[in-house]
Symmetry: D2
Subunit: 357 residues, 4 copies
Amino acid sequence: MSSEFGKNIKLSVFGESHGKAIGCVIDGLPAGVKLDMEKIYSDMARRAPGQGKYSTPRLEKDIPIILSGVLDNVTTGAPLAMIIENTNTKSGDYANVMTLPRPSHSDYPAYVKYDGNNDIRGGGHFSGRLTAPLVFAGAVAKQILKEKGITVGAHIAKIKDVCDDKFDKNNITPELLENLSSRSFSTISAVAQEKMAAAIECARMEQDSVGGIIECAAVGLPVGVGANMFSTVESHLSSILFGIPAVKGVQFGAGFDFAQMTGSEANDQYCIKDGKIALMSNNNGGVLGGMTSGAPVVLDVVIKPTPSISKPQQSVNLQTMQEETLVIKGRHDPCIVPRAVPVVEAAVAFGLLDLMM
Amino acid sequence: MSSEFGKNIKLSVFGESHGKAIGCVIDGLPAGVKLDMEKIYSDMARRAPGQGKYSTPRLEKDIPIILSGVLDNVTTGAPLAMIIENTNTKSGDYANVMTLPRPSHSDYPAYVKYDGNNDIRGGGHFSGRLTAPLVFAGAVAKQILKEKGITVGAHIAKIKDVCDDKFDKNNITPELLENLSSRSFSTISAVAQEKMAAAIECARMEQDSVGGIIECAAVGLPVGVGANMFSTVESHLSSILFGIPAVKGVQFGAGFDFAQMTGSEANDQYCIKDGKIALMSNNNGGVLGGMTSGAPVVLDVVIKPTPSISKPQQSVNLQTMQEETLVIKGRHDPCIVPRAVPVVEAAVAFGLLDLMM
Amino acid sequence: MSSEFGKNIKLSVFGESHGKAIGCVIDGLPAGVKLDMEKIYSDMARRAPGQGKYSTPRLEKDIPIILSGVLDNVTTGAPLAMIIENTNTKSGDYANVMTLPRPSHSDYPAYVKYDGNNDIRGGGHFSGRLTAPLVFAGAVAKQILKEKGITVGAHIAKIKDVCDDKFDKNNITPELLENLSSRSFSTISAVAQEKMAAAIECARMEQDSVGGIIECAAVGLPVGVGANMFSTVESHLSSILFGIPAVKGVQFGAGFDFAQMTGSEANDQYCIKDGKIALMSNNNGGVLGGMTSGAPVVLDVVIKPTPSISKPQQSVNLQTMQEETLVIKGRHDPCIVPRAVPVVEAAVAFGLLDLMM
Amino acid sequence: MSSEFGKNIKLSVFGESHGKAIGCVIDGLPAGVKLDMEKIYSDMARRAPGQGKYSTPRLEKDIPIILSGVLDNVTTGAPLAMIIENTNTKSGDYANVMTLPRPSHSDYPAYVKYDGNNDIRGGGHFSGRLTAPLVFAGAVAKQILKEKGITVGAHIAKIKDVCDDKFDKNNITPELLENLSSRSFSTISAVAQEKMAAAIECARMEQDSVGGIIECAAVGLPVGVGANMFSTVESHLSSILFGIPAVKGVQFGAGFDFAQMTGSEANDQYCIKDGKIALMSNNNGGVLGGMTSGAPVVLDVVIKPTPSISKPQQSVNLQTMQEETLVIKGRHDPCIVPRAVPVVEAAVAFGLLDLMM
C-alpha cells in the first residue's frame, strides 16, 4: 500500500523505472547535520549498474539532485527531497500492455492488483532501480550514525556454493566494516571473492543467474535500542530489509542454526571485560528481548537468483490466456548480490537511525 | 517503544507477568462479525502452559474476558478489549531488584533501558505470557479470514536434528492446515512427533533446552495482497513474527536455500491449470514483488532454545559488577516450540488480515 | 476508524457505556515516573456525574483500576492499561434495536455505519462516559508536564449569554491555572459562576439545555514545540479536542476575531523583558508557524448544548421509516460544560506531552 | 516534526521557498484514475500570486511537473511525485542569518527550534508557497471525489467587517460549489465582493493588512464517513486545515454560536424527505458523533491578517539581543484570504478522501 518507511524519520520513495525521475523524501532528519556528499556518491556508485563485468553493462549515472532540506551541505530540518533523473525515458512509442509475465518477477500480481494500470516499462515502480533512493537515505543515515560512534558494513557471505569467512560475531571492528563498505565487491576473503566471481561468470555463460547471502553488522550501538513486542530491532530491520527486491529471508545471530542448538550452547553468558559488562558470545546477534545488547548487531539476508534469465521459460499470455514460451532479451545481471550489499547496509543504517531518534 | 502492531487494524498489547492482568485492544475490526468463542479458547489452550509433559507444569488458566467491542458474540465495531487476569500475583513480599541477568533473556538490556524501573517479576512485560493476547487476536483474525476463504495453519518442521515432512509448497489443502491448527503438538509425520518428543525429553533430562523451526502456511489468498517497497507481505509478516519472543529468523519459500540455487531452478514458471493461471512451483513462498501470487504463502520461523535452563551459567551481578554463577530454579519448558505454533499462526493471521482490510 | 491518538505516546481508548468496563492503554510513557494517584482521582471526580445540582444525578464511581505499567505507583515503561468497571450493566433483558435516533446525537450515522451492530445501550462507544479514560490519560500527562515546569488549566468562558473574564493571554500564572483545575465549576469570576449556574438551572426548568465555551491555557512551554505543515501545535491539539463529544469549534489566541483585525493590530511584536526575548501581546495564542512561541498557549473550545433534552422532538422510526415524536426520558445534564472542563485540560495536556516526547 | 498528512493516503510535502524545487509525494492513490490536468492547473492558478490587484505582484508560474505515478494522465498506483521548480533561487550571495524576527511569523520559534540551520530565505519551508503542493493534492482528490458524487467548494465569508452571504447549510448544491471553486475571488454576493476588494485596497493604502473567514462545504457524502473519538471528521479536517499557515480557528456548523443556543434551538431534528431520512436543519455542519450525517459538511476557517506589513514594527535583534525597529520591505499581499480559498478546498477534499479510502 505504501512506499514509506519509518516511525521517527519517514522515508518516502517514489518513481518508476521509465518515468521522469525517481527519488525520495526524508522527513524528520535533525537540523545542522553536515553531509559529506562524496561519501553519498560513493555508496550510490557501489549500487549503480555498469561497474564491472559482474553487473549489467547499461550505463546510468545515478546522480542525486537535492531539491530541499539541505543548504550549503547542512541539513535545514525541513524534509530532504532528492531526485535522480531517468535518462532512459522515451516518450515515444511503447506498449504498456502486459502479455507474458516474467517468472519470479512482480509482473503477474502487479497486473492483477493494479488492473493493468501500473507502468510496466522496465518494471515501473517495482524496478530494482528504486533501491537507489534507499541507498541515498542510508548513506545520509550512516553519516549521522557515524557521529554517534556507530558503523555499519556488510559483505557477501555466500554465492552459490562459495562461502566467504563469516564475521566473528562478538569481535567486529569499525575498521573492518568501513573497509568492506568502501568496496564494490565486498568479501572478507580475497580467495572467496575470486571464486564468487568465477561462479557468477559461469552462470552468465549458461544464460542463468545465481543468488547469495549478505552478512551485515553494526557496531557501536548503545545498550537498549529497540523494545519488545512489535518494536524489536529484529521487527524493524526485517521490515525494511524485506522491502529490498529479491530478499527472501532474514536471520539474526545464529539464526536458523538455533534450531539444532541446545540452550547451553546457544546462550550468551555474561562476563566483565575492561571493567564493563560484556557478552562471552554473540549467538543472539546483538539483540536480546528485541533490544540491543551492546554486542554487534549481526544479521544475514538471502538474495534470490536474478529472475531475469536468458533461458527460455514457460509463461501464460495474459491477453489470450494461452501458455507460451518466454525468452527475456537484453543483458541482465547474472547476480545482483554484489550490488545489493550497499542496499542492505543502507536499510540497516536507516532502520537503526529511525529507532534511535 | 511500542507494543502495538497494525496499519488498518491496531493491536495494542499490554500487561506484565505479575501485574493484575494482561490483555489487548483490537481497534478497527469490522462490525457484525460473529465470533466462535470455543475456537478462540481452543487456540489459547494450545499456547497455554501445563498441557502435557512437553511443557511447564505451572497451571494457569488463560480465560479471556471481553470488556468491550462484542455484544452477544458479535463485534460492534468499537475497539475490542480483552483481559486475562493474572492469578499468580502476590502483592506481598518481593524484591524488584535485578541482580543477575539471565543469559539470552531481555533482563540486561531492559535493566539498562528502563533504568531499573521495569517490573522484573516473571519477566514483566517481556514474559512469553504476553503472547496470549496475540493468540487471542490471531484467533479472531482467523475467523474473519475463514469467511473470506483463507486458512492459516502451522506445524513443527524441526526440533534439534529431528525434521518433520515439509509442506508441498504448491499443494497445501485447507483441511491439512485446519487439522494441524487443531492440535497441541502439530506435525505432519507421526513418527517425527515421537522423535521430537524424545529429543525434548532428552534435553529436559540434561537440564538443557532445545529450539526448532515452525513452518506456517496460508491458503486461499487472492492475488495482489500487499505491495512492494516497505509494504511487502514479507515485511509485514516478519515484523509481527519477530515480535514473538525467541524468534531469530524468518524466511519465505525456499528462503536461505535460494543462495545456492540458479535462476532456472528457482523461478516459478506459469501454466494454465483448471482454466486459470497458476504457478508450476512455489519457491517464492506465495509472494512475488511483495504481493501474494495466488500460490500458498509459506514461511519458516526459527525459535531459539529456551534461555531458561537449569545448568549453571555465568552472569554478572549488576549491583556489585562481579561475575557470579547463576542457577535458574523452578521448572521451565525445555522446548517452547510446540506452544509457539499457535502464536506463529496468530501472527500470520493477524498480519494478513491487517493487509487485507 | 480508530479510537487511538498520539504519535509518540499512543492512547488507545476502549469501552461501551453498558459493557463490562471502559478504559485505555497508554503506550510510550517514560519509565520511572512517580504518579500521584490522588491527583488523578481528583481530575476524574471533576468529570464524573453526580457532583452537584448542575449535573446528572446518576451515581457512578469512576475508580480507575490499573492493570499494568505501574508498580508501586511508578511507571515501568510497559504500556499502562487502566479500566473502569461499569456498574450499570444488566446482562438481562434489553433490546439492542435502534428505532428513533435522537437528534444531534451519533445514533443515526452510527446505525448506518455499523449496520445496526453497534451497542446502542447508553450510547455505547459513543457515550460521553468514554471521556473518563481521556481524563485519566490527561491527569498522567499533567504530572509529567508538571515535572517539566508546564501547567495546564481551563475555565468556563461562557455559558449561554453569561461570560466569565477571559485570560490575560500574555500574563497567565501557573497558580491561576492550578487553582482553576482544582475546582469542579471553574470560573475566574465568582459572579460569572453564579450567573452561569442560574442560566443552567433556567434551562433545566425549561426541559432544555445550554452550551458554552471553555478557555484553556498552558504555561511554561519551551519555544519551538511543534512544527509547521501538518505537525502544528494547532493541528495536534485540535485533532484531540475534536475527539471530545460535543466540541464543534477550536480557536487559538484571537481566533475568529482575527477576521476583523488589521495586521498592525494583530501582530505580536517583540521586546526584551528580564533580559530575554518576549512578546508584547499574545494574539497568536502562543503558537507561531505551528510552533510554541514561549507565550502561553491559549485556546477556546465550544461545546454544543446537550442534545438530550426532555422537550418533545421529531425523529424518524428507522424500522418503519415514519416520522414520530421522540420524548427522551430520564434526567440528563442540562449543561455538560462544567464537566467538560477537565476533559479539555486532559486533551491539551496529553496532546502537548505527545508533541514533546 | 513531520510535513506529512494522511492515514490511508499519505501526502508528504517538501521544499523551501528558495530551494531548487517544492513538491509532494502522494502515496496510496488508487490506480486507474484519469486526471484532468487542466482542472489541476486551474486550482493552482487560483492560489498562485500575481493574479490581480488583490495579491502580490511577483510572478511565479506554479507549473507542476509530475515525476512518477501517472502514465498517459492515468494514475499507475505507484506514489505520485510532483515538483514545482523555484525560479527565484539565486545561488549567489545571501546571508542565511536571522537577525530581526518578523512579528507573527514563524521566524523566532524556527530560529530556536532549528538552532539557526533552517533556510530563512523567503520563509524557507515555512513559506506560504508550500501550500501549492497541497492545492495540487487537493485538486487530485477533488477529481476522485467527483467520481463518487462529492463536490467541495468554498467562498470568502468575511473580510474585515464585510460579510458575504453564508451558505444555507442544509441546502447547498454542487453547482453553487463548482461555481465558487472556479473563481479567483469567490463570494456568493457580488456586492460583498466589491466591498471586500475595497477593504483590501484600503488596507494596502495604509501599509497594513486584513484577515478574514472562509466558509467551505462538501456535498454528496454518504452517511457514516469518519468515526468517533480521535477519528472524527472534525479531528481529521481540523488537523489538515491548521496546517495551512495563518489559520487560527476552525468551526463546524453553528460553531462558536452554539455557546448561546439552547438544545432545542440547536438540535437538528429528523424528517422524511423524498422517501428518505433527512435533517430539518444542519447546525451540526453535517457531522454527528464524528461521522457524516448526510447533510452537507459545512465549516468555517479564520485566516489571520498577513503578518508582513510595511508599517514599522518592534522586534529584537537575535544577534545583539537589542530591541530594534523592523521595516519589512518589498510588496506583500495585504490580504491572503482570496488565495487561501483553494487551499482550504484542497485541505478539505484531501482530508475527506483520506477518510473514505
